[in-house]
Subunit: 403 residues, 2 copies
């Protein structure tokens, strides 16, 4: 059941869908047998909503697979993350809010350290300080022949590099050997159309090496590695696939970028709190059929290993929920793009608590929103990409399939 199949069934309706995503929502207990972050949180509004919802656990890509934000979000947006891929460089670039044009190529860069013989001794250049990294990146930004190279520091050694100009190609190998102890690889055209690309990128790397070497005070880095050349992916647009005027409400650039890649309209958010995001939702309520509302702080707390801060963020979102429900959406989805248990201090493979509410779901009589409650739910263990079709059905936006 692919996007084309769904698109052919989509019918117009006057209904509204809200997808509330708490990033890294799923968790684990501090002690085996204990309660997870979500189970610990006092969430009277989510619990009341759960009682009127269908519950389940969603799997972003596959059993046992831990995902980054890119594939995690594609899944909840209804795209198969194994079919639709976002290149590493593109994801870094959208994460920096860089404007990518359809013909641009983006690539992920690393400042690194090589020894006198040119062998990489530290792929991360001792995690070079971000301010040094930014100063270097400004100097690396240049033009070679008719190609612009825009270099931006993500953080420390991590760079996003956008190439703009005629005759670009993404068919170039990575120069990053991915391990210390090897020399950076020369960049080679992987098909004949990429000859010019290889030529200018090799010049860019050599120029970058000289610029870094000439920089004072001498930085820990002395070389640049590149990997993941890719164009902006041309995904089928979310609004057309699903027949929805779709808005994204997110504070962090990565999520705004992914939403933009699938063709959602990204709304400006004044201030950076969850409450500010709910205000944007209210103000734009009449203009769209679908709202993706993204809460980042659950994931940040999980990554920091801060169980109780993650609990607090969930409780804060719970307190805001009545503002969402007051808008009387036809369908509400509450879920995450993946799990980020505080005990693991990072993303994990655990299925994500998921709730789908509408007038037409079969409710389960489970008055709780949590991992174990969702594990008893009638949605079962479902691939994240199945959430959108179920939401569309509940919004009366899918016609009958006859043959």
């Amino acid at each position: 059941m692919d996007l084309k199949f769904l698109q052919n069934l989509v019918v117009p309706a006057q209904t509204k869908i809200v997808m509330l995503i708490m990033d890294g929502l799923g968790g684990l207990p501090l002690e085996p047998g204990g309660k997870t972050e979500l189970e610990t949180a006092r969430t009277p509004h989510l619990d009341a909503l759960a009682l009127q919802s269908a519950l389940g656990l969603s799997i972003p890509v596959g059993p046992g697979i831990t995902v980054e934000s890119g594939p995690g979000h594609l899944g909840i947006f209804g795209y198969d993350p194994l079919e639709y891929r976002i290149g590493r460089g593109v994801l870094e670039a959208v994460g920096l809010d860089l404007d990518l044009a359809p013909d641009d190529v983006a690539v992920r860069g690393n400042y690194c350290s090589v020894d006198a013989t040119g062998v990489v001794v530290d792929r991360r250049a001792g995690r070079i300080p971000s301010d040094v990294s930014r100063a270097l990146s400004a100097l690396l930004t240049t033009r070679i022949e008719d190609i612009e190279f825009l270099v931006e520091t993500v953080r420390e050694h991590r760079l996003a590099i956008v190439l703009r100009g005629p005759g670009l190609s993404a068919y170039l190998n990575d120069s990053d050997p991915l391990k210390n102890g090897y020399r950076p690889l020369p960049l080679v055209a992987l098909n004949p159309d990429a000859e010019k690309m290889a030529r200018v990128v090799n010049q860019f790397v050599e120029r970058s090496r000289q610029v870094i070497e000439a920089y004072t005070p001498k930085p820990p880095a002395n070389m640049l590695l590149l990997r993941g050349f890719d164009r902006v992916p041309h995904f089928p647009a979310f609004p057309e696939c699903f027949g929805l005027r779709a808005a994204a409400i997110a504070v962090y650039p990565t999520y705004r970028g992914i939403a933009k890649l699938v063709g959602m309209q990204v709304l400006p958010v004044e201030g950076g709190t969850a409450a500010d995001e709910f205000t944007v939702l209210e103000k734009n309520w009449n203009e769209f059929d679908f709202f993706y509302l993204h809460i980042k702080e659950t994931d940040l707390a999980g990554e920091d290993g801060d169980f109780s801060r993650k609990v607090n963020v969930i409780e804060e979102v719970d307190r805001l929920l009545p503002r969402l429900m007051a808008l009387q959406p036809d369908v509400v989805i509450v879920s995450g793009d993946h799990s980020t248990p505080a005990v693991l201090k990072g993303h994990s493979w655990h299925p994500v608590p998921t709730l789908i509410h509408s007038k037409y779901v079969r409710t389960e009589g489970i008055p709780e929103f949590g991992e174990r409650a969702c594990g008893r739910g009638s949605l079962g263990i479902l691939p994240a990409k199945h959430i959108m079709p179920i939401a569309l059905a509940n919004a009366m936006r899918l016609a009958k399939f006859s043959s």
Copy 2:
């Protein structure tokens, strides 16, 4: 999500996984509404482990599909049994502990009875006694041109035949018409490279017919049928796919053979009891990252329709479980390769109770290991091939998927 995808995510770790397989574990109650074999068994250790585990029901190949040992095991080893096939002859040969070389071809044989016009009247030759069958097989073992034919009785009319020599091919039709009332088919080369193969195999069949006819006392069989010519399959090796030093502990040749086909190291077991197998586990604990431990007697009791013997075997394994847990494995899987309900006296399609234990699973608070308990578990109904990725994730052996 195929093996290649997983292999690209595998990272090294110092963790150990034990997969305890009770063959034919799943069952049915004697009376509708009653308890299954596993539910009847007194299993305090398995129940305690279930309380600290994630539970589910696994499906070897697909809903409603009953499997033989071959596909059943490929599934729990993480291979898609519909993609990776083991020829019938190869499975019979590995079941006899015959050493198969990469260029050998194996085929399944049947002693059968034909009438005066050559029509098959009994494909099983009245289930010819095994001792007669063995005497005949010794006489059929021969050499034709430069090809060796090794004929071995599996049981009664069932034979494994291994062909060894230059220029073999597996592109030959079956001579077995699969139904009584038809003549055996002549063997035909299905591609030009199989001409020699067709020639020598037709000679072999004719020679075999004459040898059987000349045998005294006159056996119930008077002909030989062949089906499933195949080479030893070249599966991606389990240790490389999953980054695990993998050991198999099994008493029965078929299971030792399947483990060997996927590249596990098969450990010798002195004595044939379950306790002997646990001793091998203990002795080799430091040498491997992954242990497949196979208990055959659950299946044998089920095949015999002996409900209470199957209960007893499960209770015996339960008593041994503390020896396994004392080794402090990071991940423990308890499952079966398929169901063998005593009331059906054979393999069945019923999903198999499955438990996955680690520090990082979400436990369900279900203090029981049984079919209905597993049906309430958060693993849901899962394809057997998903067990390995989940186990690898829990053993912290899978990297994050970015795009």
